[in-house]
């Protein structure tokens, strides 16, 4: 029995830690309707500034906190001024991509400055422990709880009673109306980013001290858990974020208690999906609250797509088809094979995210389902590889659609978060379902690609195979989009209420989109499995999902050619920057930011 008390206390303690990130995310979401993916990076920056202050400058704790808060706030202001403000009149999705780019740049800058080796960040508080239940808590636990609760309370008071707080709330309810009433929205945004960043920086430092460890990989995890906690509490709701965090901590802790450590994150993400299904706006969203997204239309702004003449497409296709006959190296071919595989994933995502407006952040799960299905069928049941890949695509279509269906009733950012969670769940199920997936050991010895009994092992044959499959899927998708079905998809994206009024069944069309998209992604995963010969739960990770979304936004949402161009660009650029060694991801992030800044509707425009 006493163990349950311990699990509860531990859950609250770790929930405390999540709350620090979640509050900052909630604040920004409240005003900008933006999930700030750079929040984890500010947290990282705060941790390293804290390290410099503590270890090199030997500042006392209160001064350390002030220094970190000020420096992080400054970073936040710079991000707001130069990263996001120029985008405020462009597509709603552009700032999201910008925050992803900013987080790349910040993480890389920290890594280059401090080296990726983890460092110890000693706590400056006396090391006394208080016995609580079967365990103990220390002064740092209390400080973290204090900072979390105090900042949530202060923010609550600030938003409710101060004039700037009113302005923040007014701007979050209706930007245009607030501007008409004379609210300086830019100043509001500045204030919000400054506060959120200061909080993020301090939390990074405190968490670093808590674990006596900081390293450059902490940023993505912090963002993920923070986003989950924030959305559970009701996005944009500051006290809700704190309660959501504590709840998340408790669910994880009880999950460990009942099922064991390796199920921990599974419970975190299941909690998120369950909450979103039952209460699509989070636990603490009031019924009166305006819909979380300006319904639609502004989320994915219409733009004039770049028309590419048919002969140019044909010529490009011909050049790429003939490429292996030219004296190009295997390295170039392999890079393009990667681009075609990513292209299939991007086709899938551009359909569900661009054409029908369901921005998915868990698309790598579809790759994984296709890959595991195809690998296991060809290994255990000796199914010919060509058939196994098709089966992988079908399985991905079926299973993917079923898994994603709970998110059909969600809108805007909530779809992204739900799909992110579903993606993580798939990966964790693969890790834990050992009897089928072989767990962390992974599947090795997957047979190479083959068609009608001929092994495709030479780079040229793999190139042709993947190129042909991608072109076939692209043509099919283009044909689909030109039909009545494509128009219905776009109608749902642009105004789902009007679409429903016209008698379109939203769920049915969303399912159709996911079935087609799931197939393309599953085939891509299947081919990858046979290409790599070894896969495990890490092969298709969250970074792949984020990359796919970047490709889609970069190419132009819903744009079939754009998806392919975006894939070639995002696979090719990091390879081109190889010459820059450690700096290449930094350069890649900067290029991404510039592209978003100057071509927010994507290279080829939204269709």
């Amino acid at each position: 029995m006493s163990s349950w008390l311990d699990y509860t206390i531990n859950g609250l303690i770790v929930g405390n830690v999540y709350a620090l990130v979640a509050v900052g995310l909630a604040l920004i979401f409240g005003v900008s309707r933006l999930i700030n993916f750079a929040q984890g990076s500010i947290y990282l920056v705060g941790a390293y500034i804290g390290w410099v202050a503590v270890v090199q400058l030997h500042t006392p704790l209160p001064l350390t906190i002030i220094v970190v808060a000020a420096a992080a706030a400054l970073v936040g202001l710079v991000i707001e001024r130069f990263g996001l403000r120029p985008l405020q009149n462009s597509v709603r999705i552009a700032p999201l991509l910008a925050t992803i780019g900013i987080s790349f740049v910040l993480d890389q800058l920290v890594m280059l400055t401090f080296s990726p080796n983890p460092r110890a960040l000693p706590s400056q508080l006396p090391d006394v422990r208080f016995q609580v239940g079967g365990g103990t808590i220390g002064p740092l636990d209390l400080l973290i709880a204090g900072v979390g609760l105090t900042s949530a309370l202060l923010l609550f008071v600030f938003l409710r009673y101060s004039k700037l707080g009113w302005a923040v709330r007014a701007a979050s309810q209706d930007r245009d109306a607030a501007m008409q009433m004379g609210v300086d929205v830019n100043r509001v945004n500045q204030a919000v980013f400054g506060i959120a960043a200061a909080l993020g920086g301090v939390s990074g430092m405190l968490v670093g001290m808590y674990y006596n460890q900081i390293d450059t990989a902490m940023s993505l995890q912090a963002t993920l858990k923070g986003v989950v906690a924030e959305v559970v509490g009701g996005a944009g709701n500051v006290p809700g974020a704190v309660i959501g965090s504590l709840l998340l901590g408790l669910v994880e802790s009880y999950g460990v208690a009942v099922f064991g450590t390796s199920y921990r994150n599974l419970f975190a993400f299941l909690l998120l999906v369950v909450v979103l299904v039952l209460r699509p706006n989070g636990l603490f969203a009031s019924a009166r609250q305006a819909p979380p997204e300006p319904l639609t239309g502004t989320f994915i702004a219409p733009s004039r797509p770049l028309r590419i003449p048919r002969w140019a497409l044909l010529a490009a296709a011909a050049i790429f088809a003939l490429l292996p006959l030219l004296p190009v190296s295997f390295y170039v071919l392999q890079t393009l094979i990667n681009a075609w595989l990513l292209g299939m994933l991007a086709l899938s995502l551009t359909l569900v995210a661009g054409t029908i407006g369901q921005v998915s952040l868990g698309h790598a799960a579809l790759l994984a389902i296709g890959a595991y299905t195809s690998a296991l069928l060809s290994l255990s049941a000796a199914v010919p590889v060509g058939l196994a890949i098709i089966a992988g695509g079908l399985m991905s279509a079926a299973l993917g659609t079923i898994l994603i269906s709970p998110s059909f009733r969600l809108r805007g950012h909530y779809v992204s978060i739900a799909t992110l969670a579903i993606g993580e769940i798939v990966s964790l199920v693969i890790l834990n379902w050992e009897s089928v997936t072989r767990g962390p050991i992974g599947i090795s010895g997957i047979p190479p690609l083959s068609l009608f009994g001929y092994d495709l092992v030479s780079p040229a044959s793999i190139y042709w195979f993947s190129f042909a499959v991608m072109v076939a899927l692209a043509l099919l998708q283009a044909r689909l989009l030109g039909s009545h079905l494509g128009r219905s998809f776009r109608a749902i994206r642009d105004d789902d209420i009007a679409a429903r009024a016209y008698g379109l069944s939203l769920n049915r069309y969303k399912s159709l989109a996911f079935i087609f998209g799931g197939f393309a992604a599953g085939v891509s995963g299947g081919i990858a499995a046979h290409l790599y010969s070894y896969i495990n739960h890490e092969t298709f990770n969250t970074q792949q999902s984020i990359l796919a979304l970047t490709v889609v936004i970069l190419g132009g949402l819903g744009n079939v050619v754009g998806a392919v161009v975006g894939s070639v660009a995002l696979v090719g650029l990091p390879e081109l920057f190889r010459i820059a060694a450690e700096y290449r991801i930094l350069i890649y992030g900067i290029v991404l930011l510039l592209l978003v800044r100057f071509r927010p509707q994507g290279l080829l425009g939204t269709i």
Partner: protein, 384 residues
């Protein structure tokens, strides 16, 4: 239109780069260094391990150069950053196999990245020398896959003997990283520990990104073990040790050799005091190759203590040099040389000779250490 131009541009410049690389290769002569390809993480979540590799490589190369190089020629490596991502490691593999200057490849770090590239190396006939690849199936990828990674089937029984026979622990809690390495290690450890007569009362796998172990440690406490076994890397091992002491667990802790790093001491602080570690070498180890390695490392890197990954990469570069000495610059001859090379001085193995069947090295050295006063020291046999 502009899109077409852009694509041709990208493609053109790629092709130009490759053409440049190839023409240079054609003019390679004995004044040019013998080149090894390294595929590993320099950015991304595993970047720390790539930087540790570099330190070990560079030290070994300095020594090889000081001794006159290899067959009268210089030895050098070209490090390509893969982020431990299979998509990038396969592209790097194609780059290396089509670059005729590369005679041997080292890496990658993670199993998905390494084993995805194996078919390419195998088909092209370039040795993939995966010196940290403990996955039992790595060398089954083909006769061009060789590894000096200590097989977990060898290492874990040593750790089990330390914990059960020497420290006298009977009821063990095993905490392991839930990766292919951690899982394989755990299975070998559990098997050996049971043979020595111990009981495994609880076994918990955690993911690499995990930071918070308090609830896991409650499970451990409720199973009332008399010892904790950490199959961890140094960063997560230090976290577990700290939190175990914070929640009041006072049991003996015994950790796998992968925590052997000055960082473990730095990150763990007082909490890792008295933690037992089974390692392959230790600072006061009288073996000459160890003394040379540690002294050289400290000299080159401002007094920094080397860790396990530094030692792996240092050994790997020395092994590569020994193999090239026998095999020359022909890729196939180099593969054959792996079977011929005998008794190469090694920090990890003492002397390393490949078992031709498994293409791995057997018989890792064993040292039983304990953390005393913030330093790794040879265990004196006294109970803690």
């Amino acid at each position: 239109m502009s899109n077409l131009d852009r694509r041709t541009l990208v493609k053109g410049s790629l092709a130009a780069m490759m053409a440049g690389a190839m023409s240079r290769a054609a003019f390679a002569d004995s004044s040019e260094p013998i080149l090894l390809g390294v595929s590993g993480p320099l950015t991304g979540p595993n970047a720390q391990y790539g930087t540790q590799w570099k330190q070990g490589f560079d030290l070994a190369l300095d020594e090889i150069m000081a001794a006159g190089g290899v067959n009268g020629r210089k030895l050098a490596y070209s490090f390509e950053d893969s982020q431990s991502d299979p998509r990038q490691s396969v592209a790097i593999a194609q780059k290396f196999v089509s670059d005729s200057r590369i005679v041997l490849e080292l890496g990658d770090f993670s199993s998905p990245a390494s084993m995805a590239a194996s078919p390419i190396y195998q088909r092209a006939g370039l040795v993939q020398f995966g010196f940290t690849n403990s996955h039992p199936d790595f060398t089954k990828g083909g006769d061009f896959m060789w590894s000096t990674s200590v097989s977990q089937a060898d290492e874990q029984p040593l750790l089990a003997r330390y914990a059960v026979k020497r420290l006298g622990l009977k009821k063990l809690a095993v905490l392991h990283l839930n990766t292919d390495w951690g899982r394989t290690s755990r299975d070998h450890f559990v098997k050996a520990a049971k043979e020595y007569g111990a009981e495994i009362v609880v076994s918990e796998g955690y993911i690499a990104e995990e930071r918070d172990f308090r609830s896991t440690l409650v499970r451990v406490r409720d199973a009332s073990p008399d010892g904790l076994i950490l199959i961890s890397y140094y960063s997560d091992g230090a976290l577990i040790a700290r939190q175990a002491r914070q929640v009041g667990l006072k049991q003996v802790m015994c950790a796998a050799s992968s925590v052997y790093s000055p960082k473990f001491l730095e990150l763990g602080g007082e909490a890792v005091e008295d933690v037992h570690v089974g390692t392959r070498y230790f600072p006061e180890d009288p073996r000459p190759e160890v003394q040379k390695f540690i002294a050289g490392f400290k000299k080159k890197y401002n007094g920094q203590e080397p860790d396990a990954f530094n030692a792996y990469s240092y050994d790997a570069m020395n092994m590569a040099a020994a193999v090239v000495r026998i095999g020359g610059t022909d890729r196939r001859a180099i593969r054959d040389a792996f079977a011929k090379v005998k008794d190469v001085p090694s920090v990890i193995f003492g002397t390393a000779t490949f078992d031709v069947e498994s293409r791995r090295v057997k018989g890792a050295m064993n040292a039983e250490l304990v953390v005393r006063k913030g330093q790794f020291a040879l265990w004196d046999g006294k109970p803690t």
